[in-house]
Symmetry: C3
Subunit: 342 residues, 3 copies
């Protein structure tokens, strides 16, 4: 599959790999083995022995190394074979697997998919909001979508769908569709902002506003960064306040291609109200994840089935006033990929 | 898939779409949405929004229109987008889906798959026998076959298989195989007639003949009309009577390609004896549908698995004396398709 | 799929086809019908009627013949159509199916997959050990692997995997991996021998040695014969004896390609100790088959999933000192196939 190579992709939530566990995950069409060294640092290596191509994840941990289950070649976190029990024990020069540079930050494990000489940690978006705040004001989730990641990104880059797809919790009562939101491109990012009055407010905010149930100004700022991660700053405020005076939820939606037609969907969220309330925290996370899974997912996956692997543009989609952010993020990504292939 | 374009195909039984229901059905490889307007007239439009390619059948009815579940574009029965809730509400010129001309007749909904300028309702075969007669003398069924429609047509165009495939109800005791039935081509139709003495008679007729269980002359006339519908006039008569003096069953077998390797199989039947007997009607319909499903279907689907998508002729089939009707209907259909592509 | 044509492949265990039974099995990508004539001799014909391509295995036996379930053409063991109930009963010249030469020997039914003019029974490996000995010293099994047969052959041609893959019954405690076993090529065969001291001995032998549980010399000689059958002579002996002084098990592993990515795995075994012990016989067969199924099969099938249908060499496998036998059998087979295609 064609994709941006010199880029960071989320390989896992920090909590998905723990202790002596091994996680095998297909990323960009390749099987990758994720685990933690004894010191806790994460490791990602190609999940395929270079001898007879057995997934190393079927083998065993041995300290910081992994032993292939078939003929017991042992591999270090660097991907280098460090023990060969066969014959004179010499290690063939080619006996190594790809090792992927990782950065663990803000609850995510980021994997560099490109040329090691070009690694640039500054390309990891700043999602440090998730590293601050009370533990009960934050949450993470992993979802899986049987759809190309660009179709999943389109879903969020055109938030007007919230007017139509979502139930009471996230309901926006038609306010977004009427807008022609402003789209700003800067570097590898596209930002789009929606701003509207709503009465009664979204179920998500309503009970926590100063005047519960009364009209409030709502806003969402979506910042997409190539290749496929988005930070949504979602808020509601009453009495003419500014954004920061009101309720704010920071929702991070991070898409990693599994295959050409499936996506790892990582989610991280933080709020600025009742930050110590564990029960609210649980309900808010479960409610939003349920909305994504029960309301967005069936539509996104149906789009995938209809489109197959044909290119979006070749299908000549009709474009609406709410589409520019999605279109521009697709165009910017295509430009970055083309530049890389030149 | 290659097929005759300027032709009528049965999209559904009349009873399959009712009230506010929506039926999504793949026809000739395309997803089609079928429903009825408030006045009861049937509608067929492409089941795929031109904006982001969501199946409209996942959306909601709104009067005679259908609303896309994703961003709420509303489509009229004409396929035209008639409401766009986005931005200034202007409707993009390209915001329409294909609408298929329909004719509802004799309990079937016929869909024109070709060029609208060439619509010709006279090409719909006359199956008006199904519009007459007592309600208890008639019945309909829908079946699905995991096989190309031409393989299913072959099954009926060579009725000698009834000697070998079917159990007591339809048993013909070897009388058909011995025949070299006459085949007549006329316009877009191929007719083949079988005529034989049988003692005892077919289980289907036997108890209802003047002398139950005694020898009777049997006959079947099969009239295939391109691309894939067949009317079988099946009868048994005793005492030297003519066809019309005896028992008659009119069996309509209508094949519509779903994909290259699957078929929608519509069936409609009427008889001329004990026409008010509801229980007999139910048993006759259930019995024949069971025979098609339990006896023909496994064989037809095994043929599909063996043939895959290779062309019949490239496999050089051995032909028997019972094959001419099937062969000529395949050749006539191929000729019509070739003429269309010239 | 590319394969050696002028060669014998095991189509079935002798016990798999009995009495009036019919066995349909895909061999080298083609459906084959196996059955026994009334005199007990086995028959293999293409499982596909030349008229409309129905599997004959869906039909009925009639003496030594098989009758197609669809239009009742009858085929003799020669593959020739011998009865046509249609029309004047003339049998079309092309009405025959391929018949495969068979040799039944040593509990296996061998099928010649190539040119009849080139049949050479001397190419069937000598597995007559299975025809001798007490009934309770022998056993057979059929297994299925979702992997190309060369991947399954690799498994056995590099027995060093036994050190790492297998549990107590077959455990070799790392003794094989250290060896650089001698490989000998002769005609269409490759032989590789492993020889080692083990203390305690393999669970498979330990309780039956003169000094149970005490150190013993172990050995395995693997003889592969193209295209995919292997005889393993496995033994353990104490007190400085020669191979023949000790315990011996003769294990025959015979691989027949089903499709490019699946294999029929036939197994036949005989031992030289406690040859009348039926319970030991049952336990030994069940234990080894369990090891192949529970321990080898998951790894072999994972290799297939990782490799897909890409050629092994194009993946540039790292080779170890235990690989030469597997590599040379692959190279010899490739050479034989290339010679055949010249």
């Amino acid at each position: 599959m064609e994709h941006l190579k010199n880029a960071w992709y989320v390989a896992a939530l920090s909590t998905e790999i723990e202790d002596q566990g091994m996680l095998s995950r297909t990323i960009l069409g390749q099987s990758v083995l994720l685990y933690r060294k004894l010191d806790g640092n994460p490791v990602a290596i190609r999940d395929r022995c270079p001898h007879r191509f057995v997934p190393l994840s079927m083998g065993k941990r041995d300290g910081d190394d992994v032993v292939c289950p078939y003929h017991a070649l042992r591999f270090a976190p660097s991907g280098q074979c460090v023990h060969n029990p066969h014959g004179d024990g010499l290690i063939p020069k080619a006996a190594k697997v790809q090792s992927y540079p990782l950065v663990e930050r803000d609850g995510f494990i980021w994997l560099w998919a490109g040329d090691e000489a070009l690694i640039d940690p500054s390309l990891i978006p700043d999602y440090s909001l998730l590293s601050g705040g009370h533990a009960n004001s934050k949450g993470y989730a992993y979802m899986h979508m049987q759809a190309n990641y660009e179709i999943v990104v389109d879903n969020i880059m055109d938030l007007s769908h919230v007017d139509h797809v979502h139930g009471p919790l996230l309901n926006t009562a038609g306010h977004l569709s009427a807008q022609q939101p402003k789209v700003v491109e800067e570097g590898r990012s596209i930002t789009v902002r929606w701003d509207w009055q709503q009465d009664p407010p979204m179920g998500f905010f309503s009970p926590f506003l100063p005047q519960p149930g009364a009209a409030a100004r709502h806003h969402v700022t979506v910042c997409w960064t190539a290749p496929g991660t988005m930070l949504l700053t979602v808020g509601a405020v009453q009495n003419g306040g500014r954004d920061d005076d009101g309720l704010l939820s920071w929702d991070h939606h991070l898409m990693t291609p599994e295959t050409e037609t499936s996506t790892h969907y990582f989610f991280g969220t933080r709020r600025n109200w009742l930050v110590e309330d564990a029960e609210l925290n649980r309900m808010k996370l479960e409610g939003t994840v349920h909305a994504f899974t029960a309301e967005d997912k069936p539509i996104i996956e149906a789009v995938q089935r209809e489109m197959g692997t044909t290119d979006l543009w070749s299908l000549k989609p009709v474009l609406l006033t709410s589409d520019p952010a999605a279109v521009r993020s697709r165009r910017l990504l295509a430009k970055l990929i083309a530049a890389e292939n030149r």
